[in-house]
Amino acid sequence: MLDANPAYRQRPSRRMRDILYSESFRTAIYQIALAGAVGLLGLFLYQNVIENLQRQNIATGFGFLREISQFEIGETLIEYSSRDTYFRALVVGLLNTLKVSAAGIVLATLVGFCVGIARVSNNWLLQRIATGYVEIVRNIPVILQVIFWAAVIRNLPAPRQALDLWGTGFLSNRGLTVATPASDPAHLWMILAFVAGVALMVAGDRWAKRHREATGRHVDILWPGLALIVGLPLLVWLAFGAPHAISFPERKGFNFAGGSTVSPEFVALMTGISLYASGFIAEIVRAGIQATPKGQVEAARSIALRPRFIMRYVVLPQALRVIVPPLTSQYVSLIKNSSIAVVVGYPDLVNIGNTVMNQTGQAVEAIAVMMLVYLIVSLVTSTLMNLYNRLVAIKER
């Protein structure tokens, strides 16, 4: 603070005391001390680790990733056997993490949005039920929820007495088995047609906007667009001669034949983490809906905008700005929560990493790999979010 005095600053040469008492000198000293302390602590820990590892005869480095894993994994998206490397095992785990997270995000979003909208419904009963759901689901530990669902599935009847889902599938202690269309080349083309439909709808939206700007006439492309998205795949399906063979699951011995099955571990984990997240998402949606001030809607009404235009051009753009960032961080938390897979035995990254760690003893490296993967997911997401925020930020002075 003495620095601020101009007379003081203009003194030709500083005496030692002046330097010792100067703010910049103090700041520098503190920083050097802090950096030194952090550095020394790091060095101390590093040396201890090295010594301890040497004493326990544990190898260091990531060489073990190329060794043969010698364990099987129950559920894999890519080909894998116990003769593959640890590295491949970890990749299998990562893919499983992504699989359960993707499914969980879809389910959590669906449930969360419905409950969030019900939370602000003017239907008293619905609103109360939604509130109760949110309070319960958010306040019970996610691990307890996952374990609970796992127990529910474990106590389902065996395949012989499986619950029959009206002929479309079975629910048993072997998981969920549902009827699926028998594989057919038409399916690939139908997916392509679907993508084309979406692309056409986006293009149509652009065209409608330009058309409106040029002629002033509003063309509603919502229904034609949806018709395209549904209709194109349907047309492709008809063009292929409407292949309608469906593989129905049948009880066979102690298991099922036909259909496709998701494992009990997967179902339990996905249900648990996504219902837990849905409570938080519901609150985010509610906050987003309530974030647009009443005056905005009134102003829009006073220039005679129709309700759907008010929604599309006034309420939604402002609500999304409030909803999207916390929603994304909920997705990241859901991905991180999927790491409790080991309590139900689902082979995700952490579960497999844990096995690798126990087999090789290389705890530091195995944990580092797990942490790094999640860290990358988190950092990439938060970078994208910052970009989004900067893009849509409401400009103020």
Binding site: G216, A299, R301, I303, V314, R397
Partner: protein, 255 residues
């Protein structure tokens, strides 16, 4: 106050309220208010805070729903018919105390939103119209900025221009200058005076008595949800009939 004409004639009121009452729950905030506003007439509504001024003008474009009495705008009665509400709102512009500009749209987009979406105007025409009114309110250079980058006075002028872009026949103002710093009040009042001189029908809720003296054809005083008195400004300020009016004027003119 009974009218018996069945078509709208030149001298007929464009807005006509007949014994309008409104409740919030059990609380009655408008008591049998009647009011006629002719074409090109300028009415200033004043009264203590909480007296129902905002509620009154918000009923006129149905931002609030009245429970008793009738509101007729340009021969169209205000019911819960969507078509007539829409038609009435297109004819009435409204300016709010806190502007209510859309913060995520530029000034120009704020202005063109209504014309393009409800009046089916081409973008080029809507832009031209918007620039026309921005020039009218003297801030054409701010067209590409966002509302929150402007001063309060500028924002309120943008809000006025936004309403004008719908080319309404009637403008409602709900305390348009109350949220502004003193030095910005004048620029907004000047805009409103020009608007009045161009022949717009206006209902203005305000405590700016200077404005009332200059432009009002009629000043309405409200208290406790009732219309206490209504008179031309000379009479209203020079010789108020009611005790409450006098007390209110004393208080407001002292400052």
């Amino acid at each position: 106050m009974t009218k018996s004409t069945s078509t709208l004639n030149a001298g007929d009121p464009v807005i006509s309220l007949h014994n309008v009452s409104k409740w919030y729950g059990q609380f009655q905030c408008l008591h049998n208010v009647s009011l006629d506003v002719g074409k090109g007439e300028r009415v200033v509504v004043c009264g203590p805070s909480g007296s129902g001024k905002s509620t009154l003008i918000r009923c006129i474009n149905r931002l609030e729903v009245h429970q008793e009495g009738q509101i007729v705008v340009k021969g169209l009665e205000m019911t819960d018919n969507i078509k007539s509400i829409d038609a009435i709102r297109r004819n009435i512009g409204m300016v709010f105390q806190n502007f209510n500009l859309f913060p995520h749209l530029t000034v120009l987009e704020n202005l063109t939103l209504g014309p393009t979406l409800t009046r089916q105007m081409k973008k080029a025409d809507a832009d031209e119209l918007a620039m026309h009114f921005l020039r009218k309110v003297r801030i054409p250079e701010q067209a590409q900025k966002y509302p929150l980058q402007l001063s309060g006075g500028q924002q309120q002028r943008v809000a006025i221009a936004r309403s004008l872009c719908m080319e309404p026949e009637i403008m409602l103002f709900d305390e348009p200058t109350s949220a502004l710093d003193p030095e910005m009040i004048k620029e907004v009042l000047d805009t409103m005076i020009e608007l009045a001189q161009s022949g717009m029908t206006m209902i203005v809720v305000t405590h700016e008595m200077g404005f009332a003296r200059t432009v009002a054809d009629n000043v309405v005083f409200m208290a406790d949800g009732r219309k206490i008195e209504s008179a031309p400004p000379e009479e209203f300020f020079g010789n108020p009939r009611e005790e409450r009016t006098r007390a209110f004027l004393d208080q407001i003119l002292k400052h």
